[in-house]
Amino acid sequence: MKKLFNNPNDYADETLEGMCLAFPNHYARSGETGRVITRQGVGEQGKVGIVTGGGSGHLPVFAGYCGSGMIDACAVGNVFAGPSVADCMDAIKAANGGAGVLRLYGNYGGDRMNFDMAGEMLELEGIETTTVLTADDVASAGPEEAEKRRGVAGMVYAFKIAGAAAKAGANLAEVTAIAQKAADSCRTIGVALTPCSVPEVGKPTFEIGEDEIEMGMGIHGEPGIWRGALASADEIAQEMTERVATELDLQAGDRVSVLVNSLGATPHEELFILYRVVARFLAEQNVSIVTPLVGRFATSMEMTGASISMFKLDNELEGFLNAPTDCPFWSPA
């Protein structure tokens, strides 16, 4: 494991410390443990709050997406581990401006358990909460079991849409509904080439042959659809594009945003090589691409690989997608 850190147990905390030192006008640590990140101006009275949370090791997901017009507060776990119930509670409390709080996070059993319990405990304190789970990873279960799917890179669309809606003054039911629409409008698939190492564990999260890739692998190394020989970028991108597009039932004239995301080590050069294939595929179907995102949005530290997401837009979603935000990580590339 060749990584730059100090004590493995401090990896998550020192990451947050540095992030808040670098961007003190955007992020602050809060909560009893310092494991809650809040945006500048969090807890605005009358605005619906949005919280998310999950493990460390996926920056900008999750904490990086705190910002005006994005997430209000984020509960942060250790690398690839969920946040504690207490941190989830602290995040919800911080985000609360009296208009209720949406819990918006990826569909992972542990996170769900913790956010659910945190929400229940806070309902006793009179904070109204709702939940939207992102579950965009088409490789993690069939469409008939879509509720079992994991949330991966596509969650950033839900963050952006819900955050913009809340900023625009929507109430809790409205923010929840549009967040759910955003979650439902997005599909993603990933491909992994090499693993990363969790500092506390000290060895790679999975083993894979020198010429092998795994199609559909999850951002913590969860098993995918197939393992096989490394093929050309165009072949890989073609399969990914088709798997993602099929489920969105795209029609000529539709508008989508495309997210080509690096899992970490895969460079921008290669994301652009993949992007060509997606662009060509959609152009052939007369589907237009709006606001593409190409870069590192949801990573697994130094994992090599990429994911492709499509986000089907309507006027409402497109408006919120392009609404301004001051999040340091919200950039198209």
């Binding site: 119930v85 059993g109 913790n114 319990m117």
Partner: protein, 202 residues
């Protein structure tokens, strides 16, 4: 037979000590099927519980609630949350009473397990800590409450691990490696056994 608030406090304190002591073993077990943090989680829960249990409180419920808070702070991993839910559930069940009756234990376990199944969206038979709890409940129910409650629980927990070893994990991280999990002990089930502590004869 009944347990006073002080007896409950001492018992929880001992559980906490056992949780800390079994850390290395449980990390190793969890590393085979999950993320290898179960021992660390129990250690953190145990430490916070030990601190919480230095205070004397009026009712068993107050102690359980303090343990629930401790576990909800300890970790984001599943077992910590399950413990927090368990303690919170029993705290609610026993609220306002200054002692717990031994004959109610079977019902408490049942209520706790139902809460955990619902919170974790799992089922009995998924090969988790909850299967151990259910085995303990069933054994106590069958043999009746007696002074050797601890022995009965211990034997049931040992047997549950054996009964489930050959089955696949159906929930949690281990589910990802369902095939690999056949023949291995579920780390959470072993955790239950360790929390109970060794049989008196051991």
């Amino acid at each position: 037979m009944s347990y006073s608030s002080e007896e409950v406090r001492v018992w929880l304190s001992k559980c906490a000590a056992r949780m800390i002591a079994s850390s290395a073993e449980l990390n190793a077990l969890d590393a085979k099927l999950g993320d290898g943090d179960l021992g660390a989680t129990l250690e953190k829960c145990g430490e916070l519980m030990q601190v919480a249990m230095t205070d004397h409180r009026d009712t068993p419920s107050d102690h359980f609630k303090a343990c629930a808070m401790a576990c909800s702070r300890a970790s984001g991993s599943s077992f910590g949350t399950l413990m927090a839910v368990a303690f919170m559930t029993i705290a609610k069940e026993t609220v306002g009473r200054d002692k717990i009756e031994a004959c109610e234990v079977v019902d408490y376990i049942d209520t706790v397990n139902k809460a955990l199944l619902s919170r974790g969206r799992s089922n009995l038979g998924d090969k988790t800590a909850l299967d151990s709890l259910e085995a303990i409940r069933a054994e106590i129910a069958a043999r009746g409450v007696s002074t050797n409650l601890h022995e009965i629980a211990h034997q049931a927990a040992v047997k549950a691990i054996k009964d489930f070893r050959g089955l696949p994990n159906k929930i949690g991280r281990a589910r990802m490696f369902a095939d690999k999990s056949i023949g291995l002990e579920d780390p959470g089930m072993v955790a239950v056994l360790r929390i109970i502590g060794p049989a008196l004869s051991e």
